[in-house]
Assembly symmetry: C2
Homo-oligomer: 334 residues x 2
């Protein structure tokens, strides 16, 4: 057992708009020898997620804001390097929320021993982890998608969207997805999306969606907000269900962003628009893991990743999310 040198990314200042270099600081730290009941962990993969932008604002929310001078918290997968707790031994694969650090020492109760079930370990941060379960919960539990539904998914080639599209296809839905750029659109077709819309070249998104779904949509899985939400309301069939998962178009906004001008349609169409947070739905986690592991094994579900390397790449990887430069799950490999 020995202390490990570690570098970490700290929040240096609260960003206004798209986070620039001033928002982050690369600092040197140390993961000390673990004391009794502690584990020392070397992270291998770090998750880079859009929701982290919300925690950079100093406002109360469902999770507390990041603190200036502290490392950014987020999901990571690593290996135990030393243990003072009888439940862990070196080499154990663990998931933690200690965030953007190369290594750390922490109470054993704050990390979770995980079994990758033959998957690459980073899948636990993506398709078999929080983003995958977000897709599963939002599509099946919140929106109640069922066979025959027409499902519209925004940011369909993202970490969550790609899983939503494929689960919807597995359930017998017609799927319409939006993404930015030819590569993502080609990927959507590859994973079976019936109508892939490139929102950057589509012009009027409401018209493009109505063309793709002339009979309307039954479900909307929202990762984007803004014009995507407006188009979905316009295209919704009676009793359509919207799972509001994210609004990445708005997270960096420095002024109020225009809301949907057609909210009144929610009455005649009896729309149900529901926001959700995956961590409220741990009751379905076992079922999610069983289903997703099965689909992955059978080759019915695939998941792309965009991987940047080295802890110093994390801030840049984070900004890629808002520029739409990631295909699938955005990860940093350490």
């Amino acid at each position: 057992m020995a202390a490990l040198a570690s570098r970490e990314i700290r929040l240096k200042s609260r960003p206004v708009g798209e986070p620039g270099p001033d928002a982050f600081e690369l600092a040197t730290a140390e993961a000390r020898e673990p004391g009794p009941g502690e584990v020392q962990v070397r992270n291998r993969w770090m998750s880079v997620d859009p929701y982290m932008r919300g925690r950079m604002y100093d406002v109360p929310s469902y999770v507390p804001p990041f603190q200036i001078g502290e490392p950014l918290q987020g999901g990571a997968v690593g290996e135990v390097t030393a243990s003072g707790d009888e439940g862990f031994k070196p080499g154990d694969l663990v998931m933690s929320m200690w965030g953007w650090r190369e290594a750390f020492t922490a109470p054993a109760g704050t990390v979770q021993k995980v079994d990758a079930h033959g998957l690459p370990p980073q899948a636990l941060l993506g398709v078999a982890g929080m983003p995958g379960m977000t897709a599963y919960v939002g599509l099946l539990k919140i929106a109640g998608a069922k066979e025959g539904d027409t499902v519209f998914v925004s940011a369909a080639a993202g970490a969550v969207g790609q899983v939503v599209c494929q689960i919807a296809k597995l359930k017998g839905c017609t799927v319409i997805g939006t993404a930015g750029g030819a590569e993502k659109v080609a990927y959507l077709r590859e994973i079976g999306v019936d109508h892939a819309i490139d929102y950057r070249t589509a012009g009027d998104l409401t018209a493009a969606l109505q063309q793709a779904a002339p009979k309307g949509i039954d479900v909307y899985f929202d990762n984007v907000g803004g014009d995507h939400l407006q188009a979905a309301i316009a295209a919704a069939r009676p009793f359509a269900r919207f799972a509001i998962c994210g609004m990445i178009s708005q997270y960096n906004a420095t002024a109020p962003t225009p809301g949907p001008t057609n909210m009144a349609m929610s009455i005649g169409k009896r729309l149900r628009i529901e926001g959700f947070i995956v961590s409220d739905h741990n009751d379905v986690q076992a079922q999610f893991l069983a289903d997703v592991a099965g689909w992955l094994r059978e080759g019915k579900l695939v998941a792309r990743e965009t991987v940047d390397e080295g802890i110093e790449a994390a801030p840049g990887a984070f900004v890629k999310l808002f520029r739409g430069e990631n295909l699938g799950k955005m990860l940093v490999k350490l």
Copy 2:
């Protein structure tokens, strides 16, 4: 049995913005002697409802649009004057959707014999009818209001709002209501509303609502849309439920109306925003009638009306709805 002279209000042109005199035409017609299986009815009370504005647009919706040159359809209560159907006799009280006519002759199956249960007959168009049931369904079934909830109601002194406020109080909720003008605000206090906000003088509605509900709201019953919806989203507590019943601020809009700029809050707050139409919920009608009749008998529920007289008053009465000039249910007495 004889034909009855009748006058009726027809849609003359589809209004743009607030319906002016050009939109309506007072025409003379006749309610002929009823043939076999028909009834002849003289209307006594006509309902004037905001949702009728939507039917003046030539767009598909949950009810077909009004046709130019045809009488406006809407609820009315009248008396059978002659009957060719064995199920009806002169003097029977009937409800119909034949609309803004002094009298009509129609198949017996298109009118409904009703018992006013000792209430004045026009109550069947208000508190004991569609608006009352809209309040009941929206508050209890859609929003699931329960004891201890803080409930925000817009257009709280209107036909629906006044019933929402009182049912919410009966269920043990704290109630915040908005209305325009001192008379309505005084009425809201009279019926037990805990915080009555005059939206015309309140300035920033979001600030006013947050002051009235410093701990936030659990339920929003929306009759107005626009800035009221925006304020409700801002004030919502986690897992708040919104029943979207109407958006009277937008029915006459000639350009897209700004939507709520804070829709992204629906995620972290896990809001459920749901539009509804009362006619989808006939399963609760018997329970509604039993509850409301009981509350009315026991004096636990009161309902105001604004009454204009004569069929020629109907277009003006209709416009009052959008100017907020009605207190409680807007009716035309024939």
